[in-house]
């Protein structure tokens, strides 16, 4: 567990450990007053730290290895999940999963990138980096949803599309382009949620929709801070500055009009309480679903085009 404590969480953990030790000890005087003081101090420190996170610290939270992943959300906030495998051309990509699911009364097609929790499962999931067949599976499921008039929910948590020889050979760029193109005219509602990392075309490949939501401690941009640092500063050392420059947090993107809403996380981050996080997300999804299923397909597609048409700043 100790390995999963982020640098900026250390003062909190140290104090919490101290309190736990105090509670275990045997004393010849009453320590309740002292204890209360320590607990007060912990609350204060937590508040201070979590409300003043830098952009880089949010990137770290977004990558926290104990954060809920797509399958965690599927298992907690939906029921009767029927996973559908494969792109019907080549094979089944384990980095993108999808299938039918019920969110209370709503039957939806849910699709998401999936990371692993340990080395073995990460190798199986390719660290959440999809290949072309993953994007093509996602598109197949979205077209299926369109055919049977089911809304689509996508959950995004990826460090990017996989940059490999086979991926290029099989048309990584074409697969992503095709998805973006088809999602822009899909005639059912699409709700997109960034649940962790939203890196570049690999994220956008399942990221075009009517509502774009971001969990509080996630990031979404055209490149990761590390890669940005290596290209623009020619060194991996400037990731903090790159994160600041990219303005990649949920509040940044809300301000730019690129996302529609920020979904709050439990205090300290989604990893602190998976169930509470899933409940919050479920509530938000139901609000958006209720809204979007009332919109006629023509209007839906037209508004989607207008939504993305507005994104961009220039002068003439």
């Amino acid at each position: 567990m100790a390995a999963n404590i982020l640098d900026f969480e250390k003062p909190i953990v140290e104090l919490e450990n101290k309190i736990a030790e105090m509670k275990k000890g045997v004393y010849n005087h009453d320590i309740s007053k002292e204890l209360a003081q320590f607990e007060e101090k912990v609350t204060q420190i937590k508040k201070n730290i979590y409300s003043n996170l830098t952009r880089w610290q949010k990137v770290q939270l977004a990558r926290h290895p104990e954060r809920p992943y797509t399958l965690d959300y599927i298992y907690t906030l939906t029921k009767d999940f029927v996973e559908l495998h494969g792109d019907r051309h080549y094979r089944d990509d384990k980095a993108i999963i999808g299938g039918f699911a019920k969110i209370d009364e709503y039957k939806v097609m849910i699709i998401g990138t999936q990371k692993g929790r340990d080395t073995k499962s990460n190798l199986y999931r390719n660290f959440g980096m999809a290949n072309p067949e993953g994007y093509r599976k996602a598109l197949r499921l979205m077209k299926l949803a369109e055919k049977f008039n089911k809304p689509v929910v996508t959950l995004i948590d990826t460090p990017g599309a996989y940059p490999g020889i086979e991926a290029e050979q099989n048309g990584q760029a074409e697969a992503i382009a095709r998805n973006i193109f088809e999602m822009s005219r899909l005639r059912v509602p699409i709700i997109v949620v960034i649940i962790g990392e939203g890196a570049s075309g690999g994220a956008l490949g399942i990221g075009v929709g009517d509502r774009i939501l971001m969990l509080e401690n996630t990031w979404y941009s055209v490149i990761s801070p590390e890669s940005c640092s290596s290209i623009l500063w020619r060194s991996w050392e400037y990731k903090e500055q790159a994160a600041e420059a990219l303005k990649l947090t949920a509040p940044d993107l809300l301000e730019f009009g690129i996302i529609d809403k920020i979904i709050p996380e439990p205090f300290g981050g989604a990893h602190k309480d998976h169930n509470a996080m899933a409940e919050i997300l479920k509530g938000q999804l139901k609000i958006e679903l209720a809204d979007l299923i009332k919109v006629k397909p023509d209007k839906l597609v037209q508004s989607r085009l207008e939504k993305f048409d507005k994104m961009g700043i220039f002068e003439e």
Binding site: G164, E168, A173, R178, G201, V222, I223, I231, G312, I313
Partner: protein
């Protein structure tokens, strides 16, 4: 993002300098032949000896693609705004201003309309020399407007791509241009208006993962680098050297992602033929 990487150890086949140097005589990068600039121009900037395609920009493409005197540029002065106050080793705003001065271009794309073999078309052509042909808000908006001209006038749309990918200094805004441009192309598709994508060296990253790969017909100049991830990134990820010809036009044709490779000297004629079939 090949444009940023100019460290000395990086002179490899994927960073061959294709730009035409100043002066009257030019040495071919590939075969060392000394060629007079006029002769090169007459041969559409292709080495007459070894067929090497020098990298050219929108000015040159427009000069030989259109029927004489028919091309009219649109939105020429649209330019980037430093919305994010982006600073790396240099302020983005300074980078824009100095690039405009240096290149005489306002951004990495020029658009307009004109006639090719008597067929009126709307066109967008990228320029690699403007910040690596990177796609930001201006590229997205100009493509959107040029596509709209096609929609309104029911004329074919052509994009000539030449780009290292999305423009990092516009962060999420640049990423959203993939969605914006693709959404317009979806509209063209619904209206059954032809869209032809022409790929030149290099076409990578977000540009490839959007409009470049969405043509009804996709043609590529010989030996152009075309891919999603850049060769350096792939090499670093897999820890192995890449096979010869990897991600080149001929490789993309072989793997089914490019309809055909076309020599620049035949580009106009081939384009006219395809336009005739699609109209």
């Amino acid at each position: 993002m090949g444009w940023f990487k100019r460290s000395k150890e990086n002179i490899s086949p994927d960073s061959i300098k294709r730009d035409i140097p100043d002066g009257q005589w030019v040495k071919c990068t590939k075969c060392d032949e000394i060629i007079h600039i006029k002769q090169l121009e007459m041969n559409r900037w292709v080495c007459y000896k070894c067929n090497f395609h020098f990298r050219i920009g929108s000015k040159e493409y427009f000069s030989f693609l259109f029927d004489e005197g028919t091309f009219k540029e649109t939105n020429r002065k649209m330019r980037s705004v430093d919305m994010l106050k982006f600073v790396d080793t240099k302020k983005y705003i300074d980078r824009i201003n100095s690039t405009i001065k240096q290149t005489n271009l306002y951004d990495a794309i020029r658009t307009g309309a004109g006639k090719i073999g008597g067929i009126k078309v709307s066109i967008a052509c990228m320029d690699f020399k403007f910040i690596g042909g990177s796609m930001g808000s201006v590229v997205g908006e100009k493509i959107a407007r040029a596509a709209k001209v096609s929609l309104d006038e029911k004329i074919p749309f052509i994009i000539i791509s030449q780009s290292g990918g999305a423009r990092m200094m516009e962060a999420a805004f640049s990423l959203m241009q993939l969605a914006k441009t693709s959404a317009y192309l979806a509209r063209l598709a619904e209206a059954k208006i032809p869209y032809i994508s022409i790929l030149t060296d290099p076409t990578t990253g977000g540009t490839t993962a959007s409009y470049a790969m969405l043509g009804d017909v996709i043609m590529a100049e010989p030996d152009a680098l075309i891919g999603f991830a850049g060769p350096r990134v792939i090499r670093e990820t897999i820890g192995k050297d890449l096979p010869a010809g990897f991600q080149r036009s001929e490789f993309q044709q072989e793997h089914g992602f490019v309809d055909f490779v076309v020599n620049r000297k035949e580009l106009r004629e081939k384009l006219i033929l395809v336009l005739e079939y699609l109209s």
